[in-house]
Amino acid sequence: MEPDVSIETDCEIRVAVLPIGGPIPPPRLRDYLSMLSGHRRVDLSSVSSFYTEHQKSPFTHQPWDSGSLRFKYVVGGAPPSPWEDFQSCRKTLAVVGLCHCPSSPDLSLVADLFAAACKPYTSALVHRCFAFCPSDSQLDEGKKVDKVILFPPSDRQTQEIHMLTMVQDLAASLLMEFEKWVLRAESAGTILKTPLDSQSSLSSEEVIKAKKRRLGRAQKTIGDYCLLAGSPVDANAHYSTAIELARLTGDVFWHAGALEGSVCALLVDRAGQKDATLEEEVKYRYYTVIQLYRRAYLQDNAQRVSTVSFELEAALKLARYLCRQELAKEVVELLMGAADGAKSLIDASDRLILYVEIARIYGSLGYQRKAAFFSRQVAQLYLQQDNSFAAISALQVLSLTSKAYHVQSRGASQKQDTLSNSLGPSHADGGKMHQQSVVSLFESQWSTLQMVVLREILMSSVRAGDPLAAWSAAARLLRSYYPLITPAGQSGLASSLVNSSERLPAGTRCADPALPFIRLHSFPIHPSQMDIVKRSPAKEEWWAGSAPSGPFIYTPFSKGGSNDSNKQELTWIVGEPVQVLVELANPCGFDLVVESIYLSVHSGNFDAFPVSVNLPPNSAKVILLSGIPTKVGPVLIPGCKVHCFGVITEHLFKDVDNLLLGAAQGLVLSDPFRSCGSGKLKIVSVPNISVVPPLPLLVSHVVGGDGAAILYEGEIRDIAISFTNAGTVPVEQAHISLSGKNQDSVISIARESLRSALPLKPGAEVTLPVTIKAWQLGMMDSDHASSKNSSGVSRISKEGSIPLLVIHYAGPLTYNESPKNGDFVSPGRRLVVPLHVCVLQGLRFVKARLLSMEIPAHVHDSLPNPIFVDDGSAEVVTSPNSVNSLVKIDPYSGSWVFRLLELELSNPTDVVFEVNVSVRMDGTNNGNGVTSIQNYAADFGYPKTRIDCDFSARVLIPLEHFKLPVLDGSFFAKESQTTDGLGSKISNPAERNSKAELNASINNLITKIKVRWQSGRNSSGELNIKDAIQAALQASMMDILLPEPLTFLFTLAKNGIANEGIKSPKELSEQTIVAGDSSIQSASGSNTRFKGSISAHEMTPMEVLIRNNTKEPIQMSLSVTCRDVAGENCIEGSKATVLWAGVLTGIQLEVPPLEEVSHSFSLYFLVPGDYTLMGSAIINSATEMLRARARTDSSEETIFCRGSPFHINVVGAL
């Protein structure tokens, strides 16, 4: 069998091309060959100038103007075929020697060598030896050695012309030789032998037959020569005769040969035409040829020599001729028949050639899978030969099949991709590929076959000594088909990878990735310390709108814009390390050592840091890959570079993504990540990453430790936070805001100190004090805290509830090194500093209660005593006695029912608290010194109440003394200033109408009560119990706030007769009655003044001052009673111990609004002791307002107004 046969092969003159002399450098040889092989076809017209007709040419119908001679150059020559008599085209009719002069200086030697080389080619009619690049001396010498044709050194074009001439000369010589041969054959006849004939035993009968046949065979051979000489018409004539003769003599084999020649002659004659009738004719004749060969084969089957190859060649020739899509069926039939013939071929190389040819024809028909199948057969035949050249051939053939089996190396496919540019853009954008195109990626994945092919490639490349190809094949096999390979097989592949890499130079790269599987896990968002915020320079608040501001972490509106394009944007900063999370999976059964893995960045502005990973069998691992952007611009990260099994490969993320998509659709064997136990992950697309110039970077830390500050509820603490600029660019703008929960617990931030520190140079530090008041634990919180408390783990700062300090800061507006785009605004940053506060439950407020008590009831108990002291400007009573000072009663207040606010506090914590109640007397007064009572000290000097662990305590807050005056103050602010009165008429309509005012004053009052606590040395805070107090006071608020309509005041009238006016408090102060009790006796300073002022058995002139606290005149009937210690009325009755002068009962008076009326009387005490004086009045024709104050509904009821009791201590006679 001969390779590359076609119908036209019959008309080709075979020329052996032999290198002669010294070694020719391969590129030179290629060069010379290309010059020679360009002349496959030499036109007869160009030959004619070299042609001399010595005798009458036998080729009578030679087409000198249109015909041509065809050459087939066989480089290196070929051994003579035993069948060359049968088909003259198998003869080597000419020998061409190629000589490279510089390597073979002696031309005569070359000539000798050439002559020797020509010897084996017995049928060669013409010999030529071409010598290239001769030196000058050789040129001279060449004139003597005429066997060698020297090509003078010149440019390529000249040499080509020279070569053309030489080839034309060769063609003319051959033509003349053919003529000679034909003439001789026609005249003398010729002996033609084939291997078939040599076998036949010559019986007498057959000798006769052979003589007959010889004529036909001669005709056939002459026809062959005519064909070679480019004269198809002559050839056809001879073939026709030969066919006739062969048919007659039953010479089937030569019949077929002649018929084959006639088809060739027909085609050469009709060169260029291809019509249906011609095709039909060719088809018909060739089928006959095939039939004849088969018959010949069957006939001669007994013989040792098989002629089946001629039948197969004929079939291949026809198939090649018919090879078109429309005739595919016929071609396939022919090829199938030819393939079947392979069994009858004895020679393995014949079978090889057959399969190669079948594969080629299938390939040109577009049947890639068929071609691949036969190529694989070829490869198997090669592999049966045990030498490395065969293995290399096998490897090459298998690599050709790899495309059809979809196992081609990525290196090869990438080249194709760039050529076809088909999938380029869709791959490049990395976005979600269409499902259909994903499916197309997995088309024709016939895993069984792919594995076999890859294994064969691996085997052949190992045999061929191509470690890179072996590595690549093993990598492909392992990566794509690991689920189908047993663990032992996987380990075997791994070791073959290692073995191959040992034979490769270090740092070899391969286009085909092996393990592990790598997918993008996520891009960790910037830590909150490094958040980047887009800057809109036009706005004052440049960060607004670019980042989610406000109370919501997720703002649907702000997200909407960026979500439209499903690619998120990512900003990296030059010089700041970034991190990318990737997930690696090793689904195989061996330990995978990844020597290094790093991000593969094609944009060239990124330094990736390699990491080495060890993956145990069947495991997946998420690892952090980092790097530093080095230049401004976009960054593309298509995948990772992996140094594993000794070779560097690039693993693309999109490949794995596609693989996972395929796995999801059941197209791929398995998902490597799921088989490793890693969860399903949404496919992460690589975002658009851009690198921006350096930005400032603030780093914060809390001075004194970053741990959470542990505060009790309500505790106030200063925290100092220091900020350092860790970047390389100064901070020029900074703004602090608060976010998160419990924002109001941040009392103050020293914004100024930050602002004054700007611009903050790189490395500079600024400290910012922040005052925090611990917030109240909620219901849930306290439960949580208490449960934690019990378990002893109380120091948990809840991230969710802490306030966050948000600092927006930015460097210079534009980056001076990028002047090319003026509108570029370097972004700002946001630093979120969580104020780590752990709030513990502190003092627990249990309840607030309002206690009210009547003073007289407590007189005996030495409880609150009204002590009136001087000084009209302020009715402050300051008792020297600290015990008594707890209760201070202003006699003018008029309210005698005494009220206390009782707060019950418990201490569930494990520390001791000290509680201090104070009332803040800030500047709510209106500046009227007379009426406002703000001179109460803020601190009353009450002893601190200590509350031990797990104990409760009650704290009493007297409401009377300090609340009312405040109330007065506020009323005065509202109303027109009245005289000196402390009690303005509260219940006037205007006041009642303005509820809001009242509420305001209530709130005002409540806010003034401060319950501060202190625990240990440096914890202090304040209880937030406003609501509780308000709730406690709500019911009796009116009573607390409103004074009585009438107040009574008893004074001593020194001069016997009631003096007209004790209107001035100054005077009053001189003559005040102090109802002293036992305390007076033990009296110090002030008491002695009164001593002896009232004594028994003495007429004591007194007067009662009745003050109208309303704005309307009140008519009344006043009576004064005096009771002794026992409470007996000592004025009336039988045992009266007090005598009196003046009127004491039924005194009709009318008191003008807001004024006082005095009524004088005298008392004569018979018995020394304590007495109580009390004024009371029945109000005539009471107004609605008074009724309301008295809380009566019926208008008939009389309104009785009783003053507060006054104590008189009557001493005995001195």
Partner: protein
């Protein structure tokens, strides 16, 4: 303009979906029957992926041979895909052969729906045809399973036993 596009695209996508759901059912079944007792049966999906393969013969259980059978069947796909469009019959007998092995094919409905093909040694043609028909029915039952993703491998052991039983019966 925007609105038009907005209303059109969902229709397009549903149409696409319908088309896909129809075409995805396309599966080719190849069977290779080797000699008297050896046969290799394969169902090839629309995407040229074998979704079921079985050596249903009695002899020659060598792995090497099984691979060779699959190679022959894979190569035969070229011819099958060409010829399936020129013929109206579903059962295409002896479409391809290599050595003694003949490929017969049963192309399921409409060429884009499953196509069945058979390679055989021109013996017991009727049996092969019946085998194909019954396997086709089995395949349709598999398709009706809502949990079966069309185009993915058939892993049902029930299907496997049935096919092998059919092979014993007909081949």
């Amino acid at each position: 303009m925007e609105r038009e596009r907005g209303t059109l695209s969902p229709q397009a996508s549903t149409a696409d979906k319908i088309a896909r759901s129809h075409t995805i059912v396309e599966v080719r079944v190849l069977a290779c029957k080797v000699m008297a007792t050896t046969a290799c049966f394969i169902i090839v999906s629309r995407n040229d992926i074998p979704i079921y393969e079985a050596e249903v013969g009695s002899a020659m259980k060598k792995e090497e041979a099984a691979h060779q059978h699959q190679f022959i069947l894979h190569a035969a796909l070229d011819i099958v895909q060409d010829l399936a469009w020129t013929m109206s019959a579903m059962f295409l007998k002896a479409m391809d052969r290599f050595n003694d092995l003949v490929v017969s094919v049963y192309v399921t409905a409409g060429h884009i729906l499953p196509i069945l093909m058979l390679l055989h040694d021109s013996r017991n043609e009727d049996g092969i045809k019946s085998f194909f028909q019954e396997v086709h029915e089995l395949y349709i039952k598999i398709l009706l399973n809502p949990l079966y993703l069309p185009g993915s491998r058939i892993t049902s052991s029930h299907f496997d036993t049935k096919v092998r039983a059919l092979a014993r019966k007909y081949l």
